[in-house]
Amino acid sequence: MAIIHVDGKQFTVDGADNLLQACLSLGLDIPYFCWHPALGSVGSCRQCAVKQYRDENDTVGRIVMSCMAPASDGTWISIDDAESKAFRESVIEWLMSNHPHDCPVCEEGGHCHLQDMTVMTGHASRTYRFTKRTHNNQDLGPFIGHEMNRCIACYRCVRYYKDYAGGKDLGVYGSASRVYFGRAEDGVLESEFSGNLTEVCPTGVFTDKTHSERYNRKWDMQFAPSICQGCSVGCNISPGERYGELRRIENRYNGSVNHYFLCDRGRFGYGFVNNADRPRQPMLRRDGKLAIVSPEEALLNGANLLKTAKGVVGIGSPRASLESNFALRQVVGVANFFDGHAAAEGVLVKRVTEVLRTGPVPAATLRGIESADAAFVLGEDVMNTAPRVALALRQVARGKATQMAAAQHIPEWQAIAIADIGQHHKHPIFIATADATRIDEIALETVRSAPADLARLGYAVAHAIDPASPAVADLDAATAERASRIANTLLASTKAVIVSGTGAGSESVINAAANVAWALHAKGKSVELVLAVPEANSIGLAMMAAPGIDDAFKAIESGRADTLVVLENDLYRRAPKARVDAVLAKAKLIVVDHQLTETASRAELLLSAGSFAEADGTLISNEGRAQRYFQIYDPTYYKPETAIRESWNWLHGVRAAQLGQATVWTQLDDVTAEVAAVLPALARITEAAPGAKFRITGLKIAREPHRYSGRTAMRANLSVHEPRQPQDADTALAFSMEGHNGVQAGERPAALTPFAWAPGWNSPQSWNKYMDEVGGHSLGGDAGVRIIEPAANAPAVPAYANHVPPAFAAAAGEFQIVVSHHIFGSEELSTKAAPVQSRIPAAHVALNAADADALGLVDGALVSVQLDDVTVQLPLQRHAALAAGTMAVPMLPGVPFAVSGSRAKISGAARA
């Protein structure tokens, strides 16, 4: 803590901050460009100038850059000082001398940091009369637009992309007034986190290309506080809608989770919401075809199907909300409600849940990962299963430089000095996976082996840490040595994170990772666990403790049940096609979904559900954080014929019709409350966000910024009379710009903040106005509630898992399948978004290069692969690193369902 004096007023600030950060945290405005809370200070833009005085008697002072000056005790500065103000205005004037002033056609307009800063400095008229420099733009792929003429050379893009996110293919070229930021040549930006460039860039150089074709201003967008559906990490997002279409997803600050950054799957994978083939009205099969029916008719038909059923089975979904899963559970009955994961995966997710709920080690938040100084990744290719975790792990590695610099009293924000002192030093990270990963370069050591051997390594590490944990029999010397190295490194850390998950398809791997974490805990070390699970609500579904999907299938197969209700789930992603075909052939099928999946297209009755854009609900992330996402817009406003309802609403309606009763649940809160009441493990989910009755000074919270325009005209094709805005009974949010708008920073609870805006701050930088301190936590607490924490009375010596698997032995003529994942293509919903589709790798299988040699197979050879009962032809990839004796079968369109751990046979020609 330090006392500083700003324009004669005294403030207490964090003395470890720089003056800019300290002043912004106090709510004082100083314009800036090159500084960013996550990137630190480099002092290049010179925008944040203030006057600094030696002491209270100094009247002359000198101009300093506030981002480069420490907020040390006894600092005297003035922001208001006339010379500093004039200088800051000049900086804008210089920047503008080359800026094209193309705001009217620029896609940054209205949420542009450069616009905000220009207004803030008061620069309003231009004296520069000479030519401007111009640049060519590059094609950077389907996600990011590039307009270099708008560049103000703040260097943030390269600092974020290269230094923070570890990207290699963005750089700065040229010198003097012609510096250029882009790729060495046109081409797709390779980083999985390229989308953050659109928010990191303070002007319109890097913009969201997916928004480009149907562009609208931020102030013309309707937002909702939402949660990414792309994986289990639960990043907070701020999706924007206009004219009934989702137009863009931006980051929504959550100080415990994603803070400033998202991955590209989450940001650009929203297109499934807008796809034309979505069921938007309920449909009933008539004469073999699905035909639109009224909602009432749909409910009656649903009720009839259930009434006349010999037996009903309901399959829930890890991509549907807790509320919707619960509604299904209620309509089919607890005994008939089944887990919607693939059978093997469901087992793993349950084990992960159990590890977190019964073990002594807490799940790490993303921010928690970043504060670790050692990490052990066991089995999980996080870049492809939980991408944002990979970005957090990079920060673990980078933390070493910060630590080394701190030893020389160099503060955390001195970005360049830290990198210089750190050089290639990194905090130790071990990555043990079946195949190479995209973050191998941050690893101190990588290990490649089959899941059983990964598990054995993990068990051995745990044993080396705590001999009370099970030993591994017949361990080879090299692995034993490696295990003790890893163990010693983890023991030497001040905080370790152990990263694993369901991705390797092996319960042993999860158990081994748990043992490592628990062993560290037993030794009194600070340790946290990151366990990735497949989908956005995998943990939530697992916590409902339903039996696995196999039992559901068996009920149909055995004839015990003849009617199947499927919630937001494509069964063809959960089991081999032949089996699903057979099950569906025997069952009357009701599907509630927002996508026309292969399963949905077989339905007798298809109920048109809301996606996260049209529905509210609660999800539980892999961190055990219950988070609520809120409906963004009401689709009937533009298309009154639309009959989209939350899945829980449909299912509850069917039940009411079946029982001939009125509906009991009238709004989301009713369902959430009942879930909490019925399932004690989920009791606290009601705290994930304030309920529908929440008001600020009697007002609901507006989903639209208050300059939202065109409302009276936007529906004129239907009627020139502007109807009443849709009402939202479910939440404390209004479909309107009327309502509370968060003019006073921090007034809206974080969980109910749809978009960031503060007076003078229209860009994403305005999130900084919603925090206890800039870059810290949301005022009033970060959104969501952690419902899984280690029990306070957890035993000091944990109950170690003790099923050490035997060593993997390659079998002649067979390969062990390891399902591999890809950030683009393995997740169901984002795969339906056109921009993502162009990034999906072609279907293939992969073998270790030596194994391929033994079969005489060259790269690209078309091979016949026998997986379970199906045989498919796929091109072969040779992977140098892939564990010998295994076959990587990617979860990609065009590749049949496969299960990790099962065996595949291969035959094929050495044809490229």
Binding site: A86, S90, F130, S177
Partner: protein, 437 residues
Amino acid sequence: MTADLSETKPLTARIVPGRAPLNLKEYEAVGGYRAVRKALKEMTPADVTKAVKESNLRGRGGAGFPTGVKWGLVPSLEKAPGKRYLVCNADEMEPGTFKDRLLMESDPHQMVESMIVAGYAIQATRAYIFLRGEYIEAAKNLNAAIAEAQAAGYLGQDILGSGWSMDLHVHTGAGRYICGEETALINSLEGRRANPRAKPPFPAIAGLWGRPTVVNNVESLCNVPHIVNNGSAWFLGLNQGKSKDGGTKLYGCSGRAKKTGIWELPIGTTAREILEVHAGGMKDGLKLKAWLPGGASTDFLMPEHLDLAMDFDTIAKAGSRMGTGLLTVVDDRQNMVSVVRNLEDFFARESCGWCTPCRDGLPWTYKTLVAMEKGEGRPGDIEQLEKMTRFLAPGRPFCAHAPGAMEPLQSALKFFRGEFEATIKKIDQTTASHAAA
């Protein structure tokens, strides 16, 4: 060469114009590498630093920072064990400066010996001569000298049995004036873009590859063996009482003077002596209009300033900087607007592009001067230029490049305002006076 010369002109005593530089044998024959022997065998590293401190040797790269003090900032080996570096700033690119070239081309062994002694003082593990790429001859001669010194055991492992090891490399640059700024130089040496780094931390704490690093100018370093050999009192006396500073200085003169060239003289010699005695005065028919005391990034001085002693403090008091101490004389046929335009063209082009004032302010300055030169100046242009001089002053831009660019501009505006005013369009001038009224 006589003993006499090495007494009064230690830096250039061994240089004979038109003759190849001395090889190792010849250099040793006239006392070369004696300082290395003396330092390594008779002195501790701290002794060497102390001697340099006491000699009051001030950096000849332009800023005049005391060399011994700079070395003293390097943490002790106990505090910061491991690698540390000595870097010779041989990037000489300041317009009007041509002294380091002479020292390296004509007496490369002196340079090498200097690196060894200085390296010893800071216990460097490696040393680099950061040489500008265009100095082909200097690179050749230095590399030959290094090879000879290495073979003779003056470089490499366990030098002269002292237990101290250092290797020395010539790193040739690829252009760009900003590489001469010491932190930009470090970035360049690391194979990066030559953007300067923030100070603190200073290179002495965290420099090349994050390790303690000393960067010194060629001429500064070349004084070191002589200080070690002859003592600091001798060095202080070289000024012949003309200055508070010690030693000699390489002074020179370029522009339209009779005998342009370079001379080693007692530090504090007057500019008049340099111009009128050594350079023989202005060419016939030309009068001195203004002069730059030491490179493009120093303020113009006027003929009435010629009697000033050319040392750091005296020239600073007159409102300029001694800089590199090589005069550039401007004759009376020159238009100052054009002269300044030439200078600002240089600075705008050589900006590294890191910070806003320099990257965008200098091209604006240059373009304004081009317009004025063409007679297309507008009312407000002079004020605009003055605003630049205020807002590109030290501390506002990131490094000293842009402030350097403002020095000739602000002094030209001060001394020759009329020439700038004359470029403002007549028609606009009436509007201007209306506006002013």
